[in-house]
Subunit: 112 residues, 2 copies
């Protein structure tokens, strides 16, 4: 059976940050910073989980208890520096959408 | 300059359907149906755009004017049949989260 990397979110309501991005060419320290930011985010109060995929576009959806948790994470000093480097070096463009999750439906095949 | 496949969504508020999935092995008609559903969705009233990426996990975020538009799309007969086949054949597991987008921030590199 495949591993299922879904975020184990609680009953709604909670919040989602939908981060869609197009990378610049080359790594330039990106992979290391992305890993570090994931580890830091996981330790933030109110962090609920994350789901991620990249093809032409990357989509990372992180889940949070409330908007205050999202605001604290945005203001984290080390994260601020990563955001600055993201705009300077790593991303050609991105969209960040902050959304309140109102409903969730799950499907798991029988043999899970 | 790379093409930017971001959804051209309006000012919030609007809605996002975050569909995270793990596929079963093999195509079994999936690619054709996925293409057909994308075309159908684009013709639905209230459809605003879609962003998508797949690695181990697939994430497709579709954007909608309101929950009524999402409910109509869910109830579409051809889409209902695709949903049934998805559970029977194509997906090992999925999560669907319906979320109200409250805020959006954009970044585009200077030369765009």
């Amino acid at each position: 059976m495949k591993k299922k990397p879904f975020a184990r979110t609680p009953e709604p309501p909670y919040y989602a940050v939908i981060f869609s991005s197009i990378r610049e060419e080359g790594d330039e320290g990106y992979a290391e910073m992305a890993q570090r930011m994931l580890e830091l985010a996981k330790r933030q109060e109110g962090f609920l989980g994350v789901e991620s995929a990249r093809e032409e576009m990357g989509i990372t959806v992180s889940y949070w208890r409330d908007r205050a948790s999202i605001a604290r994470w945005k203001a984290d000093l080390e994260h601020q520096e990563a955001q600055r480097l993201g705009r300077e070096r790593w991303y050609a463009a991105y969209r960040i959408r902050i959304a309140r999750v109102e409903e969730e439906r799950l499907f798991e095949r029988g043999e899970v």
